[in-house]
């Protein structure tokens, strides 16, 4: 869902930018790409955060058992 939301949002903002300042098609193109990059970065951040939480839980359990 995040992967879809990024380019969609980028395209929508790009459309608005193109309409407002007449950059067509650069606004749509650049912001769609930026949206995709942002969504990839967000997924990586979420995975990093989730794995960090899991690994801290595992290390806590190990120290408790020891």
């Amino acid at each position: 869902m995040v992967f879809a939301a990024g380019p969609i949002l980028g395209f929508a903002i790009g459309w608005w930018v193109d309409e407002k300042w007449g950059f067509d098609p650069w606004g749509k193109t650049i912001l769609s790409l930026l949206g995709f990059v942002a969504s990839v970065k967000q997924v990586i951040d979420l995975i990093k955060k989730a794995t960090k939480d899991v690994s801290s839980d595992v290390s806590e359990d190990t120290s408790n058992n020891a």
Partner: protein, 269 residues
Amino acid sequence: MVEEHMHEVTHQVAHAEEGLKELANWITLVNEYRHGSVAHFLHHWENVVFSLTAALFLVGISFLAARKKLLIPTPLQNALELAVESLDNLVTGIIGPRGRAYVPFIGTLFLYILIQNFMGLVPGMKSPTSSLNTTAALAICVFGYVQGIGIKENGILGYVDHLMGNPRDLVGWIMTPLNLPLHILEELIKPLSLSLRLFGNVLGEDSLIAAFVGLGILALSFMKSPIGLPLQFPFLLLSLLLGTIQALVFSLLTTIYISLMLPQEAHEH
């Protein structure tokens, strides 16, 4: 005669599937048989009415459970204490002890979404979360709350610094023109993906149940049965599971978004 009736029922089901993707609720019935302004108002604000019903239900349950706090709790008080404790553990497990401040918001969000998801399983009711308006409103609340926490915890300059990707060296500052729009887009993606995910999943479940209710009615229509086969039953159980998972995903992601917005030392232990 039977063939004629079958054709009629098939036509009705097909027509229902074209126009309505979900089962009829009590407001649909009121609107069908009473054509007054009240019925029209209720039909127009259907999702708000059901959302308010969920909120009132939660308020009522909380009031009943917390009215008389006992050392040996009543089953209701016990259930609510268990829910609160589990949500507290969930949030503090991700954010750390400071996360307790955000438990009321995230906990309320979880319970509210859970009740709204389950409302679609009650005959005559509807899941308000199957409308993008409801899920977008919830996601906008989360967006505002997370940005508010970001400004409160980091200060305005710290918040802007966070959006620029915390540049500390020359390379960081050179990358700022790229990092700033990237981070702004990232923040805007969050409410969009949150709202679309919840809306899509709940609408999908409700449409599936409605489709199987239609099939169940169609299966017994040759004998003019007033009720249909309960073909939707397995999907009701699936909906219970998915409704809980979606509520959990929404609140878990909100917790992670808050955690990512907090200053580094606050959530790293």
